[in-house]
């Protein structure tokens, strides 16, 4: 079957899916959705439809993630009138009412309705007008939550694999020119121009070349790659094929974290489908270009996100980095030229080739083009995945898209770039987000984790957390990272325990400098960033820990105690029953007291007290 005929067939499948008068239920079932109970909700719908005799006339389909993770489980129902309504926080107990309202009586079920997808309604806002959605520009997430990720026809009907077809008609050199014109920079963290990288790999002469999709998303607090792989796997595969075509590679690898089983399953299925349709394999679309893709599962080593370590891992070795140059584009996998691109980078590629690099370059700032997907989490109301044009301010992301702070507490800082990044204090929130600006502020773009912090987050604790992560994940090959990280962590632990001295701050800075300059790979070079950036903006808090032996956020356990506020205590004994170490003594007559010598500061009493009668000091 020709590609055009295949596309036509896909359109028919898609039209049937979109047929306005056929009732349909879409259930957001990425990992987040499943964790929130989407599979139970789906089972409840199946049971309810069977009870109503509607099984045959209503389609129930699992889709990817719309990015509104805070509102999971998300369900979109299209009634007989064609109106598509998005419902939030759906639980199995709501299912009967939802089916009854929209599918039987043709009414919107108001209590859970979040938005109308395709229409306007007096009572429910349109999806695109939602404050969380309106400022977003969706290129990478274009299909997530819209299509069935396990159905290649859905992807084809959205113009899928047309970018690949166009690439074949342009020729490899012109593909690379389009990529250069787009200004796309690597979304894995470092921000190297993708077109330039491909150019280097193309000009390296070799009998075999490779492309690798780096889906070893190890950055704690970042999950955009998982979501794309789960919600739109074909877009990444198409991007990888185009990359292979551009540099002249015959084989590609998808290196995916084993912690993402659903993503692995979806990618496996998508690769099979692509082979069946002749979009992978020998002589793709009748050209002389042949290309195969293999999956490799990451085995739980953060350092394997570093490209030379990733290559070592695919070769079956310990995942330790090696000095560069030579860069992988000259000597990579098995010594052959290799282009390594991140998931989000590759998901942009089909769009760029189809729409043109110039059009992509219209979005963003002078040096950072296009969009960036951020995983917005922490103390923000609307946690989720958001795709925004480069140049948007952090304030817009947190307060417009994110809906502001949880519990309306004051914002303290935003952390970007994960363990290689830094914190951005509240007075810099109006900085436009791009690679250069974040670096100037002492952070980095990184892969896109964005953690919002309020006054209950201790800055020393955050620095300790990230550094501790890097110390654990250091591969141990080079001394500056292995020893420097450990020494810095000891200093931080001392400060957090109230045993630090002001000299320690200088020591931290000196070791950090040595790590930055002398470490072999980016893990060690950037591991000190969270410490340096918190020292830059929040030195006062470090000093309070050292001089006053005080943690203002009551996070550092050695510097805080729990006590019972006698005026508020109703003597209900709930804390006594829940205390795991029997540290709460007393009786109903005299009142209850916490024995600080027994207390392990687990916080359980604070959590269970209904009268806010436990104080943290």
């Amino acid at each position: 079957m020709s590609f055009a005929a295949r596309q036509q067939q896909a359109q028919i499948v898609w039209q049937r899916f979109e047929q306005p008068d056929r009732p349909r239920i879409l259930i957001g079932s990425a990992t987040c959705g499943r964790a929130a109970g989407s599979l139970e909700v789906m089972a409840a719908f199946a049971a309810e439809l069977a009870k109503q005799g509607l099984t045959e006339s209503v389609d129930v389909v699992e889709v990817g993630c719309l990015g509104m993770c805070y509102a999971e489980v998300l369900v979109e129902i299209r009634g007989r009138d064609g109106k598509r309504v998005l419902y939030q926080s759906v639980e199995p107990r709501h299912v009967e009412a939802l089916v009854d309202a929209q599918l039987v009586r043709g009414e919107v079920f108001a209590p859970l309705a979040l938005a109308v997808m395709n229409d306007t309604d007096e009572t429910v806002p349109a999806f695109t007008d939602l404050p969380m959605i309106q400022p977003q520009v969706r290129i990478v997430l274009r299909n997530c939550g819209i299509i069935d990720p396990t159905n290649i026809d859905h992807y084809l009907a959205q113009g899928g694999y047309s970018g690949m077809a166009r690439a074949f008609s342009l020729g490899p050199e012109q593909v690379i020119e389009e990529m250069k014109a787009s200004g796309l920079r690597g979304r894995g963290g470092a921000g190297f121009p993708t077109g330039v990288k491909w150019g280097f790999a193309r000009s390296s002469v070799a009998d075999q070349k490779y492309v690798i999709c780096n889906a070893d998303e190890g950055d704690p607090g970042a999950y955009m790659d998982r979501s794309v792989l789960e919600g739109d796997p074909h877009s990444v595969i198409e991007g990888l094929i185009i990359a292979g075509y551009a540099i002249g590679a015959g084989r590609g690898y998808m290196y995916i974290r084993a912690e993402y089983p659903l993503a692995v399953e979806r990618v496996k299925k998508a690769i099979e489908q692509a082979y069946e349709c002749g979009l992978l394999g020998k002589n793709i679309l009748g050209t002389d270009f042949s290309f195969d893709i293999d999956i490799r599962l990451g085995a739980g080593a953060f350092v394997c996100g570093e490209e030379t370590a990733l290559i070592a891992s695919i070769e079956g070795k310990r995942g330790t980095p090696r000095p560069r140059p030579p860069y992988p584009s000259v000597s990579g996998l098995w010594g052959k030229p290799t282009a390594i691109n991140n998931v989000e980078t590759l998901a942009n590629v089909p769009y760029i080739i189809l729409e043109g690099g110039d059009k992509f370059a219209l979005i963003g700032t002078e040096k950072s083009k296009g969009t960036k997907v951020f995983a917005l989490t922490g103390k923000v109301r609307n946690s989720g995945l958001v795709e925004v044009p480069m140049g948007i301010t952090l304030r817009e992301i947190v307060f417009d898209i994110g809906g502001g702070m949880l519990g309306d507490k004051p914002i303290k800082a935003v952390q970007t770039g994960g363990p290689s990044g830094g914190v951005i204090p509240v007075d810099q929130l109006d900085t436009p987000v791009d690679y250069e600006n974040l670096q100037k502020l002492g952070s980095i773009m990184g892969s896109g984790g964005m953690i919002v912090m309020d006054e209950s987050d201790c800055i020393v604790d955050i620095a300790k957390f990230y550094l501790g992560f890097c110390v654990e994940e250091s591969c141990g090959k080079c001394a500056p990272c292995r020893i420097g990280g450990y020494q810095m962590l000891n200093l931080l632990n001392g400060i957090a325990e109230g045993a630090g001295s002001l000299e320690d701050l200088d020591k931290l800075r000196r070791v950090a400098l040595a790590m930055q300059r002398a470490s072999l790979c980016a893990l060690g070079q950037t591991a000190a960033n969270p410490v340096m950036s918190t020292l830059r903006y929040f030195e006062q808090e470090y000093r309070e820990h050292i001089v006053n032996r005080k943690c203002r956020s009551h996070k550092c356990r050695s510097l805080m105690t729990y006590s019972i506020i006698q005026d508020k205590c109703k003597r209900c004994r709930v804390c006594v029953i829940n205390c795991p170490v029997n540290a709460i003594e007393g009786d109903r007559e005299k009142g209850f007291f916490i024995d600080v010598s027994k207390c392990v500061k687990c916080g359980k009493c604070f959590e269970v007290c209904k009268f806010q009668a436990i104080a943290k000091e």
């Binding site: 990992t31 987040c32 499943r34 964790a35 929130a36 993770c69 805070y70 999971e72 998303e217 190890g218 950055d219 704690p220 607090g221 970042a222 999950y223 998982r226 084993a258 912690e259 993402y260 089983p261 490799r296 599962l297 085995a299 739980g300 080593a301 953060f302 891992s313 695919i314 070769e315 079956g316 070795k317 310990r318 995942g319 330790t320 995983a375 989490t377 922490g378 103390k379 946690s383 989720g384 952390q415 994960g418 984790g449 953690i451 912090m453 987050d457 955050i462 957390f465 990230y466 992560f469 994940e473 591969c475 829940n578 795991p580 392990v600 687990c602 916080g603 359980k604 959590e607 269970v608």
Partner: protein, 152 residues
């Protein structure tokens, strides 16, 4: 009832002898046997014509591989950033206390094993605990206690 031991030979013969098969092979062996026994490591080494030392060198580098059998219920506590700022350290402590084991250990009756994981990427549901591959979101110390009790 006796369960037939999955045949290690069958797994091995599905793979070639090139070194890049090492990690996928160890992953499949662990998938089937739940951990890497000394015998399994030796068999993998023989198949790939490597030394057992070499195989251990690789296997111990990666956090995924286990060398003792996990418990009947394998508990993973997420320690990603979003989970950390929402109190994952207290969740871990609470589970540790309820099961009597530290991270990396298996309880003596074989009931539970406990592991810390860097990030599951379900940050909007923080703090997250995974028991036997089912994800539990928005955990509290009280909820973990109930979860452990239910599994006992």
């Amino acid at each position: 009832m006796t369960t037939e031991q999955p045949d290690l030979e069958n797994i091995l013969t599905a793979y070639g002898r090139e070194r890049d098969n090492l990690i996928p092979l160890l992953q499949e062996v662990q998938d089937r046997f739940r951990y890497l026994s000394p015998e399994a490591v030796q068999a993998v080494a023989d198949h790939l014509e490597l030394s057992a030392n070499d195989v251990y060198g690789v296997a111990t580098f990666y956090a995924q591989f286990r060398f003792v059998p996990p418990g009947l219920h394998h508990i993973k506590v997420c320690e990603g950033t979003a989970c950390h700022v929402r109190g994952s350290d207290r969740i871990l402590e609470s589970i540790s206390r309820a099961t009597g084991i530290a991270p990396g250990q298996t309880s003596s009756n074989g009931q539970f094993s406990l592991e810390r994981v860097a990030c599951f990427g379900s940050c909007a549901l923080a703090p997250v605990v995974v028991v036997d591959d089912k994800v539990y979101g928005r955990m509290t110390a009280a909820k973990t206690n109930k979860l452990i009790e239910d599994k006992k």
